[in-house]
């Protein structure tokens, strides 16, 4: 097979990979914020639910979660297609790590900020959304960036439930042609480039936020 052909097949796979990232990332972000905040501020039963979710998804691995959602849920009468299973599993998995990012970033905001906002008589939600969160968001960007890269890497697992992503395309090409070195070499470079582009974007964002408009936070 010609090199150009290989690349074009792999590009199709890369598009699927990017699609999965584009869907799982928002889900992970939502999970991270909702459960991170619940874990920090919600009363007892909700907090316990959050802890169970977090510990469960962090204590087992993404691939098992993916298989569980894809192969076991049908036994409960919930049949979902591979793509949905992939997005849900990866979103929940990365989201569980994200909760700790949210929590850590909020706790890293100096205590004096909270105290000043009490002294100025802000309500609890104003304290969080107007004072603490704008500063915490800046702290969150680098660790969220790392998680986004972990997500890109984790998408390769979806090839194991027959989704035609970059890794899947590579493996099927490798099984049919003999140019395995070229194929996997190109695939690794593809993933590497995706990660570097993400990294660049994150660095930019961080720089913009800390030097530009906000100086130490998002201004609203």
């Amino acid at each position: 097979m010609e090199f150009g052909e290989i690349v074009s097949v792999l590009l199709q796979g890369a598009i699927v990979t990017i699609k999965i990232v584009a869907m799982a990332l928002p889900l992970a972000t939502i999970m991270a914020f909702v459960f991170g905040l619940v874990r920090l501020y919600a009363p007892a039963p909700f907090k316990q639910v959050a802890i169970v979710y977090i510990e469960f998804f962090r204590g087992t691995s993404a691939l098992i979660q993916l298989y569980w959602i894809y192969f076991v849920l049908p036994f409960f009468g919930i049949t979902i297609d591979a793509m949905t299973a992939a997005v849900v599993a990866l979103g929940l998995n990365i989201g569980s790590y994200g909760t700790e990012v949210v929590r850590g970033a909020i706790q890293a905001v100096p205590k004096g900020q909270y105290e000043a906002s009490v002294a100025l008589n802000f309500t609890a939600s104003q304290r969080l959304w107007r004072v603490i969160m704008p500063q915490a968001l800046v702290n969150m960007i680098p660790p969220f960036g790392n998680l986004a890269i972990e997500l890109v890497k984790a998408t390769s697992l979806v090839s194991l439930i027959t989704i035609g992503d970059l890794t899947f395309k590579a493996k099927s090409l490798a099984d049919t042609t003999l140019q395995v070195g070229e194929i996997f070499g190109v695939v690794l470079v593809f993933y590497f480039v995706m990660a570097q582009v993400l990294m660049l974007f994150i660095k930019r964002l961080e720089k913009y936020l800390s030097k530009g408009l906000g100086r130490g936070g998002f201004s609203s």
Binding site: S61, I64, K153
Partner: protein, 225 residues
Amino acid sequence: MNGFDWDWAFTWDVLPMILSAAKVTLLATLLGSIFAIIMGLVFALLRRSKSRLTRTSVYWIVEFIRSTPLLVQIFFLYYVMPEFGISMSPLATGVFALGLHYGAYLSEVFRSGIDGIEKGQWEASRALNLSIIDTYRDIVLPQAIRPMIPATGNYIIAMFKETPQLSAITLLEMLQMAKIIGSENFRYLEPFTLVGLLYLVFSIVAAYGIYQIEKRFPKEGFSLK
């Protein structure tokens, strides 16, 4: 809706099989950890090399390994190594891949651990005319190890949790076993849930173990002799 209830008889049937596969999982983790620690040290020391070319290339190699998927690295080794006449068993391939991947992560831990040693310690070693090997062995590593335990431990647990990916190259570890059982019996609920729970239990136990090791580790360092 046939699988809605948990089948205990089936559970007891499959548990021994899964536990026997757990041995493979643990073996892969153990060998992978040893290899990863060695690779991590090699990378970390090369990053401190005098040659700028070495430093930069090792930086990019580590960056490359860290930002590409483990699964693809596993496939790469599995498919490409035989091209060079090296054919390895799935276990050896898996250990190699895990060690390389997590060695890249660990090199960062080791690097910052070594950087964390005060400049004065290096200078004092210099003043005492210790060789570079003696300096590392007697002065730097004994002090650097304790602060590196938690991060190293976390990466080893992370590695353990990624061993199911070795099922992709037919290594008969826990997940692969569960998958085979599941497809033979048309019941995935029990085997997959068991595997998930076993991972959860193992990682909790391991996290506790690491905490204990860190706690017991002498604060003032120790002598490597």
